[in-house]
């Protein structure tokens, strides 16, 4: 799985509600059938946080897990990515003669 896919999957997992890393990976497993390796998952989280697309919710300093959420910029980026992917997927399916859902 390429780096950008990992980041998109993490953004998708966080679209619904704030989650900590383990829960993000569980959500990704529900979506794709596979979990990300810990290096890939936390590398994606570090990149998304550096880009300002996710942020910690705070208040869980005593917990072992750190909960993060999408920022408004993260929501916009995710919406744009998913719209592009939807257009590409509809075009591809049409070309294959399969009616998009």
């Amino acid at each position: 799985m390429q780096a950008n896919d990992s980041q998109t999957l993490v953004l998708c997992a966080l679209a619904d509600r704030p989650l900590h890393g383990y829960a993000v990976n569980s959500a990704i497993e529900e979506l794709t059938g596979r979990r990300l390796g810990p290096g890939s998952l936390y590398g994606a989280l570090a990149r998304l946080e550096a880009k300002g697309l996710v942020e910690p919710t705070g208040g869980d300093e005593l917990e072992r897990q750190r909960t993060v959420r999408l920022t408004s910029a993260g929501r916009e980026v995710l919406a744009a990515e998913l719209s592009t992917m939807a257009r590409v997927s509809q075009s591809g399916l049409r070309s294959l003669g399969i009616k998009p859902a």
Binding site: Y22, G39, A46
Partner: protein, 257 residues
């Protein structure tokens, strides 16, 4: 300490401060098959210091600069050894390439370096920081002329020659490490360059190291080819590649600045 905890210690300290618990738990839960991912993830973080958790964007940029300076100084140390595998850069086109490459590295590193804020207290603070960090290597370097004048150093042989060479290289390595520590600690005294200027400077330095690497590898085609030239050429290529990667990381930063 568990294996998971040991593997997580491969990560840089700022990353461990934020993610260590989760990384350990995820690694322990996934078992042996997670080890390659953790090791690759740690290497990825060391190659991307601008991604480490930070208080501010300037801290990320300073970390990137530290890695650029480290790679540049490592390249300088490799080039200092250049004469020993017999790579001749004293005349002809080799000399031109060598000098041009050296200029590119120097101009590149200076372009990508942060600038001191032009206020009295920040300049003094920066000088104090430099004095603290560089006193040791400068002090060690000051003993070199004394050693050079000694009778034993006039015609060094055997063990003494090895000790002298080791001492010289220790002074150089300590100097380079302390320069990197000055850059790492100068955040409050400097203004970081724009991402584009940093990308340009880093890319230029990459080009310079690549030029010297080319000289080393071209030397392999000569009658005096040695394995030393091959090793140094490959090291310089790796450092040039690292700087080129960091230059592209600077450009990536500019999209999020």
């Amino acid at each position: 300490m568990s294996t998971a905890a040991r593997l997580v210690r491969l990560y840089p300290a700022p990353v461990r401060e934020v993610w260590a618990n989760e990384l350990e738990d995820a690694t322990a839960a996934a078992g042996l098959r997670a080890w390659p991912s953790i090791v690759a993830g740690a290497a990825d973080m060391w190659l991307h210091p601008q991604l480490w958790p930070a208080d501010a964007a300037v801290q990320r940029r300073i970390r990137l600069t530290v890695l650029v300076v480290t790679a540049g100084l490592a390249g300088w140390l490799v080039v200092l050894r250049l004469g020993e595998p017999g790579v001749d850069v004293s005349h002809g086109s080799s000399r031109l390439v060598f000098l041009g490459s050296g200029l590119a590295v120097a101009v590149g590193l200076v372009s990508s370096a942060p600038r001191a804020r032009l206020e009295v207290h920040t300049v003094l603070g920066l000088l104090r920081l430099a004095a603290r960090r560089l006193t040791l290597p400068v002090g060690l370097a000051a003993t070199l002329p004394l050693l050079a004048r000694s009778q034993a150093a006039a015609h060094p042989t055997g063990l003494f020659a090895m000790v002298l060479a080791a001492y010289l290289w220790t002074v150089l390595v300590v100097f380079c490490l302390q320069v990197c520590r000055v850059v790492a600690g100068c955040r409050e005294y400097v203004v970081t360059p724009s991402p584009r200027r940093q990308a340009f400077g880093t890319g230029l330095a990459a080009l310079g190291l690549g030029g010297v690497a080319f000289l080393c590898l071209a030397h392999l085609a000569s009658d005096q080819a040695t394995s030393g030239a091959l090793v140094e050429g490959l090291l310089l290529m790796a450092l040039a590649g690292l700087l080129a990667h960091l230059a592209s990381a600077c450009v990536g930063d500019s999209a999020h600045a």
